[in-house]
Amino acid sequence: MTETSNDAAFVEFQRVQKSYDGEILVVKDLNLALPKGEFLTMLGPSGSGKTTCLMMLAGFETATHGEILLDGRPINNIPPHKRGIGMVFQNYALFPHMTVAENLSFPLEVRKMGKSDREAKVKRALDMVQMGEFGGRRPAQLSGGQQQRIALSRALVFEPELVLMDEPLGALDKQLREHMQFEITRLAHELGITTVYVTHDQTEALTMSDRVAVFDDGRIQQLAPPDQLYEEPENSFVAQFIGENNTLEGVVKSIDGDTCLVQLDDGSEIDAVPINVHKAGERTKVSIRPERVEFNKDRLHADAHTLKATVKEFIYMGDVFRFRMSVAGNDEFIVKTRNAPDAVRLAPGQEIEIGWLAQDCRALDA
């Protein structure tokens, strides 16, 4: 995936490569450009190179090859403390021997700011995250969520234009995490900061970002806004990684413009949108989202291909019903329906026919 570099880019990676041992490339040919004010998330499994990219941008790792530009200037040779980039760390990294106010005051002190200015800024930064009364406390006396807020306001107190966040919400419980997701995006947009956010949590990536870069194997697999990423994955890794996904394997029989016919391994045939299959005879993985599968025949097109399915399991989840089915040899085929008044509860063992719209079914690389 390459992104054409443009002059308006605030942060730019140009053909960046990184190797730690001289044998394996952790980051392979990274090209990425962010305009000012964008909230970009680097999403990927551990070991995919996303944190390395962040560390190169912060200056704690040097790129083996390529340039990193900040506001048009190459920063490869600028030490981290001169880059003026705010950073929030996974475990907050609040200095345990300083009070909250001293923590916030530290970046201002090293900038040789006067005492009254410092106090005013610290107060404003604390109020910004609703922690005004906690200035005198030590980090150890705060809860995880409170520490997270302090870490955030410490990264923002010296008014950097770029803020990096390395899985900042990983240590929080679900409810707090959701609340902080909202808080962080609100602050980032209010202050107009450019943000690079690293996470392996896809929900976080989808809810917070302007654009998401999905990393795997040292490359960006897809760079797109969240909705596009979810609904139009460009390869089977992204389809698998983002959200829940059903995969059926088969061979492309024919391609006709923007539809293709796929023969599944058990012999049955389905229609799909060819994304990165190019000719008949190629093996493919067909991807369908669980909520796009329909087993109410009335809602399907008359000419839609249908498949036989056996219900294996019914899971009641409150707002949705989740069925595990056996479809075309795949025992892990998931179907989700909303818990509506007329929703059908299928019992295990029941045999039904399922189908979907051809445009929701994407034939991807095998």
Binding site: G86, M87, F89, N91, A155
Partner: protein, 424 residues
């Protein structure tokens, strides 16, 4: 809300007994088990450590020998005034001969002589020489004894002799402690030792000063090494750690003797310096048998005790702190001084206490490389235990040393806080 919590009285368990009581009962078995597990060690420590040390320390005030060996004399001396300048009455001499006959029979008079010799030189020979002749006397028939005794040894005609016996007759004495701080017990009360005998205070001072110097040089040498160990990758740091621990596999005596080879005037260091032309052949450095020798050798020997606690504390300081500081604009030095160093202080504290307390009681190394100017108070204690056999003084010195260590520990707690000490 249960009834129990609404009552003002104590919380009750389900069966009506107070909750605390039933909790204690349920925990008793566990506690008993724990006690049983530690009991072998507890007994071992009791009998091999606490009891001997307590009895040794008790010797610093114990002084029953005069009263036990010369019971009648001590009683008779009660009416005699040490300040009078005159010899005691005949009754005292009579009592003394009666006591001495029994003492010589039991061969206790020489022991008493050497005990009193600690206080007044000459007492040992006085008792030994008189003993033989006194043995032949019969207390019932041979009196009066005053003249006879003075004839046997003129010492008995000196009021000072009797004054010493009376001064040191109480069963509990502060005499050893006074000796330990360069004072002595006299009939006129505690007084300073004569100028030429005042060595112990100086020795205490030297011990403290040199231990501080050793601790400081250990901190200076250990800090960078520990930092390196804590920041290097695990595989490399484990290898280096073996090098740090290597000295533990060699005998202390061997290491100290090696320093003797290194430091002496014809030793490796001097020879090298002369060969390089840095030092003239007739001006070789004197770096052994003095304080420098002790400081060098002990710093080397105690270094691992500083590195280990420092390393284990530094290992727990996550690298993200330094990164965070740098991302906020701090230079390397500011990051170190404001962020890293304050967090490594517990390690310095733990190492310092360990090294200082070990140093203050060190014996072998100062003995071998210290000469006369570089010895510690513990060498003096050893001397009194094994050579002069003045165990009372040795015990008093030991007690003072223990008290000083505890005092310093307390001061340290007040300044740094003992909670700030971490061994890992």
């Amino acid at each position: 809300m249960t009834d129990a919590s609404q009552n003002a009285g104590p919380m009750l368990a389900a069966d009506g007994t107070p909750l605390k009581q039933s909790l204690a009962r349920s925990l008793r078995r566990q506690k008993l088990r724990a006690l049983l597990l530690i009991s072998p060690l507890l007994l071992f420590v009791m009998f091999s450590f606490i009891v001997p040390i307590a009895s040794m320390l008790f010797r610093s005030v114990e002084n029953g020998m005069v009263a036990e060996t010369l019971p009648l004399t001590v009683e008779a001396l009660q009416s005699w005034d040490t300040q009078s300048g005159e010899l005691p009455e005949e009754a005292v001499y009579d009592a003394f001969v009666r006591d001495m006959v029994v003492a010589v029979e039991n061969k206790e008079h020489t022991r008493l002589g050497s005990r009193l010799n600690y206080e007044e030189t000459g007492m040992s020979s006085l008792f030994r020489k008189s003993g033989r002749k006194l043995k032949k006397m019969d207390p019932e028939t041979d009196g009066p004894f005053k003249e006879q005794l003075i004839e046997i040894h003129e010492g008995w005609g000196d009021p000072q002799t009797w004054s010493v016996i009376k001064t040191h007759s109480p069963a509990v004495t502060n005499g050893y402690f006074l000796n330990a701080v360069d004072m002595r017990r006299t009939p006129e009360g505690a007084q300073s030792q004569p100028e030429d005998k005042r060595i112990l205070i100086k020795l205490f001072g030297r011990t403290l000063f040199m231990s501080l110097v050793i601790t400081a040089s250990c901190i200076l040498l250990a800090y960078p090494v520990s930092y390196l160990l804590a920041t290097l990758p695990m595989r490399v740091s484990n290898l280096l750690m073996i090098l740090v621990l290597l000295p533990f596999w060699t005998s202390l005596l061997v290491r100290t003797s090696a320093w003797k080879v290194m430091l002496q005037q014809q030793g490796v260091i001097n020879e090298t310096l002369v060969w390089l032309g840095l030092v003239a052949d007739d001006a070789r450095l004197i770096i052994i048998n003095n304080q420098i020798g002790t400081i060098i050798a002990m710093t080397h020997i105690l270094l691992p005790f500083m590195i280990l606690p420092m390393y284990s504390v530094m290992q727990t300081i996550p690298p993200t702190y330094t990164r965070a500081a740098k991302s906020m604009g701090a230079t390397n030095w500011t990051t170190f001084w404001r962020i890293y160093f304050p967090q490594s202080i517990p390690g310095i504290g733990a190492g310092s206490i360990l090294v200082f307390i070990l140093a203050i009681g060190y014996y072998i190394t100062p003995e071998i490389v210290g000469g006369t100017k570089g010895v510690f108070i513990s060498n003096r204690i050893a001397y009194h235990i094994s050579s002069s056999l003045n165990w009372g003084l040795a015990a008093a010195l030991g007690t003072i040393l223990l008290a000083v260590v505890l005092l310093l520990y307390w001061v340290y707690d007040k300044i740094v806080g003992i909670d700030n000490v971490k061994l890992g």
